[in-house]
Subunit: 304 residues, 2 copies
């Protein structure tokens, strides 16, 4: 069963269109939900994808352009309207936190949830670090201060070999440390190497999100080796100058980042509404990085 | 050709659901568009209804609950992103104007439109009065300060009878005053009464919008005689106490207002998401006021 899934809730640029909603993703991770950007219509998309609002406990906002955050006041108000309790951490630039709280002070009169603003440093750094996951922000290069996010699962426990556990009659009290990699010392002093008692841990998944950025090799270093990279590809190469002027990338540039970073898979998104479908953008990227797909609303990407 | 149409863009209560979007309407009046409340997803609904953003020149916000206004920051940012120019009047309570401008200062960096905040007095009064239309705010009775809006077309010009104009050879310079109701004095001094030269003017339409309110006879006086009354009917009569406690009405109460006010037609809306369809609410209202319909997204109501 997958425990690390990215739901694409919106992958359009700038404004909602008939084809795409503004930037919004939900990362389903071990039962909890983390929002990554939160464009308008986030609530509706969560419902369409049957994602329970009560599971949301972190929100990461890459930058303060409306298409990446204007769904958040409504979502947070709704949590209180539904009388949900608990804590939601909003990771956002300081100016955004002040703005958001001002809106909530006006529209949400009886807040039941506890909102904690975790102010993001535009220079990046680790912004969440718990038992199983580390989230890192890193600079992107847009027309406004902007960061990408990298989600790395921590190493997982090894799988016990049931046959060996039974054969050696290993006490339950020893199993946790063996799963963590320890050898087993039997009561008679014999040492059984961990490799004989366990099989490899499951893969630790990793995902990176690059919302809005021009091409910059520093981005490739920040996302090096992730399983899946979501990277904006707002305009095709025919509009490369326009893309650059507006702080955006082409599919070829996104693919070049994916290639340089040695990622497993590239997901293109943040499509300008000038493109009636994403095939032309996808073709351009695949010429450089074949394992590329185009995001679409409702798409689920299994990371691990 | 109808020149006064109400587009229902959202008629759900509180939060977006799979069935209804939050409160939002567009009044198409002689080529321009006035938004009446502006819940999240307003932009998407405008596109679905093929209503050009550039035609919007007035926005009326009934109160400062999120489901009635959180689509507005995105809509106003988009006008500037599309480099549209012109003036948009936002009629809103003062606290809402401050909040909205704070959001726009953060998310909309190069505003091209000119936003004028016309602060609404919670006690009501005329808020727009031009050559052809008068808009009046009037108090509603909700859990927060709230107003309804009444839109009255001014009397229209009478229709000239072409046969009489030709027969009497009336000069073009006289036609405007005759359409306005004047008699015609021929060069030989004969007086032709207006009633012989013209037929009745088209009906001047009127529409009233009651977003969120408990039952109060003062509301019936404010909406007296309108052609169409949109009135919230959040909960059925089985939940009348709950409706009252939350500042809302039942369909029976909405219908009673319609009956007392002698309106032409009642449109129910602001449905709680607990109702899988609106038939039960509609039946309840029709028992009191038969000419009632239930709003739905995409519905167009011709006022005049």
């Amino acid at each position: 069963m997958s425990e690390f899934i990215v739901d694409i809730l919106g992958c359009g640029a700038a404004t909602p269109s008939m084809r795409h909603l503004p930037a919004c993703q939900a990362i389903e991770y071990k039962g909890r939900v983390m929002m990554v950007d939160c464009g308008e219509s986030a609530q509706l998309s969560l419902r369409r994808n049957s994602i329970k609002f009560s599971r949301i406990n972190h929100v990461f906002i890459s930058h303060l352009h409306g298409d990446h955050l204007l769904g958040l006041p409504g979502l947070l108000s709704t949590l209180s309207l539904h009388e949900l309790e608990g804590t939601v951490h909003v990771h956002i630039f300081e100016q955004g936190a002040r703005m958001l709280q001002h809106v909530l002070d006006v529209v949400s009169h009886n807040p039941t949830i506890n909102i904690i603003y975790d102010i993001i440093d535009p220079a990046g750094g680790v912004i969440l670090d718990d038992r199983s996951l580390r989230v890192t922000a890193f600079p992107l290069y847009h027309t406004a201060p902007c960061v990408g996010f990298r989600f790395d699962e921590k190493p997982k426990l090894r799988h016990l070999r049931g046959d060996m556990v039974r054969f050696l009659n290993i006490p339950v009290s020893k199993l946790a440390e063996i799963k963590a990699g320890a050898d087993y010392v039997a009561p008679d002093g014999r040492v059984f190497e961990n490799a004989r008692l366990t099989t490899d841990a499951d893969h630790s998944g990793s995902y990176a999100y690059c919302s809005d950025t021009v091409f910059n090799p520093a981005v490739a270093r920040a996302v090096e080796g992730v399983d899946v990279l979501y990277h904006e590809a707002t305009y095709g190469s025919d509009l490369e100058k326009c893309a650059g002027a507006r702080g955006h990338s082409t599919p070829a540039q996104a693919a070049e980042i994916a290639r340089m970073a040695g990622v497993g898979k590239l997901v293109l998104g943040h499509f300008s509404k000038r493109y009636p479908d994403s095939q032309v953008l996808l073709d351009e990227a695949r010429a450089i990085f074949p394992n590329t797909v185009a995001a679409d609303e409702g798409m689920k990407i299994v990371i691990a």
